[in-house]
Point group: C2
Chain length 492, copies 2
Amino acid sequence: MAKNFTSREEDYSAWYNELVAKADLAEHSAVRGCMVIKPYGYAIWEKMQAQLDKMFKETGHENAYFPLLVPKSLFEAEEKNAEGFAKECAVVTHYRLKTDPNDKTKLIVDPDAKLEEELIIRPTSEAIIWNTYKGWIESYRDLPLLINQWANVMRWEMRTRLFLRTAEFLWQEGHTAHATKDEAIAESEQMINIYSEFAQNFMAMPVIMGKKSDSERFAGADNTLTIEALMQDGKALQAGTSHFLGQNFAKAFDVQFTNKEGKKDFVWATSWGVSTRLIGGLIMTHSDDDGLVLPPNLAPIQVVIVPIHKGEEQLDQISEKVKGIKSLLEAKGISVKFDNRDTYKPGYKFAEWEFKGVPVRIAMGPRDLENGTVEIARRDTKEKTSHNIEGVADIIEALLTDIQDNLYNKALNYRNEHITEANSWDEFKELLETKTGFISAHWDGTEETEEKIKQETKATIRCIPLDAKEEAGICVFSGNPSTKRVLFAKAY
Amino acid sequence: MAKNFTSREEDYSAWYNELVAKADLAEHSAVRGCMVIKPYGYAIWEKMQAQLDKMFKETGHENAYFPLLVPKSLFEAEEKNAEGFAKECAVVTHYRLKTDPNDKTKLIVDPDAKLEEELIIRPTSEAIIWNTYKGWIESYRDLPLLINQWANVMRWEMRTRLFLRTAEFLWQEGHTAHATKDEAIAESEQMINIYSEFAQNFMAMPVIMGKKSDSERFAGADNTLTIEALMQDGKALQAGTSHFLGQNFAKAFDVQFTNKEGKKDFVWATSWGVSTRLIGGLIMTHSDDDGLVLPPNLAPIQVVIVPIHKGEEQLDQISEKVKGIKSLLEAKGISVKFDNRDTYKPGYKFAEWEFKGVPVRIAMGPRDLENGTVEIARRDTKEKTSHNIEGVADIIEALLTDIQDNLYNKALNYRNEHITEANSWDEFKELLETKTGFISAHWDGTEETEEKIKQETKATIRCIPLDAKEEAGICVFSGNPSTKRVLFAKAY
C-alpha cells in the first residue's frame, strides 16, 4: 500500500492528505469543509474520548448537553466573543422547505417559514451555556459548577484540512463557574495540565505549556493557556487551550451569586477544549513514509495476527494456536484482531496493517506451527523477531509499553532539537527558513511587534512558556528591552 | 421535595413536566423546542449509550461520523424521504454575520455571505450517508457495511415536550449496506431485537415488537419494525424503529456493487435508531408521585449513603464505616455516592435522592454505629430494613437485582392488563375512553380505515405485532374481512 504514496520529504502536505485517505481515517464530504470521519479514524477518537472523559470525571466534572443553535441576540451579548466568531458563523434563517412550484421533484426554502430571529450554529457554547447557568446559580452552594460537553461545533473556515481545520469538528468543551478568581484560575491551570498529561502519556506527543499573547487569546477570555506541539515538518500545532474567562460572561449574562457573607458577586469562569484536531497532531507526530504510526495507548487495534497458510487444514491449525494467544492478550486488556479474511493474501494484509499503524503484528506460518513459534514485528522500528509461543503474551505486553515510550522519546528528541534560540533578526529569519521548529527569542511584549513579525515571516508567538525564566534581553525585532523569551513558530 | 408536586392522577402531563424539572433531568432552552440536558439526565443517557454501543459492537457494527449539514440537492434525491422531512427542516442560508451599521453593538446577517445552495441540518442522515457510501462500495468484498453514528439531529416540531419530542435531540442511527435482500431484512430484524432486549433488560420496560402500517412507515423505507411501550397513563410510546430500506437509497444515490459472479446490482439497506426519547419512556414507565424511579441497570447512582450525625466526631466515625461499605460495593461494580455535604440536613437529602430515583439508600446514624448496623431503603417499594454491616454488600447486590426485576414485572403486569380486545366499534371507543392502553382489534388493512379511526378517536395503529396469530375476523370499523388483529392506541 505504500506504493503511490508521496514521501514526507517530497511534499509533507500531500503526504498528510494521502495518509488520511489511504489509512481510511477521514474524507471530505459533499458539504464544503465538512469531513466524514471513517470508522478507523473514529475509533481513534473514541479512544481519546474515553481517556479524556475519565480524566475529567476523576477531577469532578460532569457531562451535560446544550443546544446546537444559539439565538443571535444571545450570541451578541459578550461583545469580544461575538466579534471573534461572527465572521465564520453558519446561520439558520428558515425552518421549512416546500415543493418547488416550477419543478415538483425539487424543494425550495419556504419564504413563509422565516425565523423571527436568526439562529447561529454554535462555534463554541459560552453564550448559550452562560445564559443557562443564570438559572442554575443562586448561592455559593451551587458553586463550583464543573460541566463538560461532547459536541459538534461549526466555524466557517475558508481553508480546510482534514482533522486540522474543518468547518464542522467534534470536540469537548468544559465550562466551569466558580465563587472566586483564584479558584477559576486554578481550574484553568488544572485543565491545561490534564491536556498536557493526556498528550504526553497517551498521544506520546510532547507539548509545551504556555500562555497566549494578547492577540492570540480566545475572544472573551482574560487569559488563555495552551499546549503547543511540534510536527515533523517543523510547524507548531496548538493542541488544546484552557481559558480563564474572568467575570466577562457572568457580566454579559448577569450571572451573580450570593456568597457566604450574603453579598452578591459575579461568578468567575473558565472554558477549555480539545478537538478532533488532535488526530491530525497524532498523525503528524509519529507517522512515516510507510503510513500511519499509532502509539499503543490510542491504537484501536494494538495487535494484528496474520496467518500464512496453504489450504483450510493449515488455517485451522493456525487458528487453533491463535485462539490461545488472542485470549491471553485480551485477558491483559490488549485489543487484538485476527485477520483471517480469505479474500486477501498475507502480503496485502501486512501492507494494509502497516499502513494503518497497528503497533504490533504477529505472523504465523507453517514453519512456526512446526517450531511452536511466531514472528513478531513492531511498527515503529520495523524490527522483526521470532519467539516461542509460550510467554508471548508477556513479551507483547512489554513490547507495547516499549513502543509507547520509544515514540514519545523520539518525538521529544525531535522537539528538543528544534527549539533554537535566536538573538538577532537575521538569525531569526534564517532559522525559520533553514531549521524551522520553535524559535526562542526575546520579544518586547507589544502587539505591534508581534504583528510585524507575523507579516514578515508568517511566524506567530505560539506561547510564553509557563517555565520561561526571567532573563534580561532585547527584542529580536524592535531592539526594545525584554524580560523573557517566548516561542515563535509557523503553525497549523 | 415531593411537596408542590402534582400527582399523576391529578394531571399526568403536569406531573411529567414537574418531575423532569425537579429531578434535574432537563429544561427548555432559549431556543424554541431545544432542550438542555442537565448532568443528571445526561448521566442516564451515558448509561444507555454505553450499553447500546456495546450491543452494537458485539454484533459487528462500527461507529463513524457524518456531516451535520446536508446540501438541499442531496436531501431531495430520495423523494419520499425528502417529502417526509421537508416540512420540519432547519435551513442554513448564510455563513457570516457582520456588525449592524445602525448599531455597532448588534450583529446582522451579512447579505454578501449567502450560500449558493442551502444546507439542511440533518433530520436523519440517510441522504448524506448514502451519498458517501457510493464512494465506499464497489464489490461484494466491501459488504456488508455495518455503521452506526451517535449524533444530534433536528426536526422543527411544533409541539415539543422534554425528551419525548424536541426540535433537537440526541440519537444513534445505524446505516447498513448489504449484498442481498435477505441479509438486509435479517439485519433490520436483528436490530429491533437488540432494542427490545435493551428496553426489557436495562430499562425494565416491556415492549411489543411489530411492523408499522404503510402510513406509519418511515419515509423512504419498504418496511418499518418498531418497539412499542405502554406508559402509565395508557398511552403508547414508539421507543425505537428499524427500517428495511430496500434498494430505495441505493437507487437514489446510484450505489451499485459487483457481486461474486461479476454482475452489478444495487445495494440493499437498513437504518435503525433510538434517541433521548427513551429517557421520557423510562420516566413514564416507573416513576411515581414521589418522583423519579430508576431501574438499577441505568441509574447513574445505584446506592446513596446518607450519614445521620451530630457533630464532626460522629461524622468521622460514620465516614470510617462507610468507606469500608463503599469500597466493597464498588468492587462489585456498583456505583455509590456518599452524601456527606454539610450544607444540607439528612431529611433534605432523603427527599432529594428519593426524588431523583436512586434505587437504594443506606442510612447510618448513632444507633447504627453502636449496633454495627445500617438502614437500607429501597426506592421502588419504599421498604426499609435494618442489617448488620457484615455481609451488607451481598445484600445490596441481590437487592439491586430484585429491584430491577420488580420494576420490570410491575410494568409488564400493567402492560398486559392494558391490552384489551375490542370486537365492535362501540367497544373500541369505550375502551379508549375508560380503560385506555392497547386495543387489539381487527383491521381491514386499508389506509382509509386507519385514517378515519385516527380522525374519530386520535388512536393510531401502533403496530402489527410480529407474533400476531392468523385469525379470521371482521374489521372493527368497516366490517370488512381481516386476518389479524393489530394494536391501536393513543400515542406520544
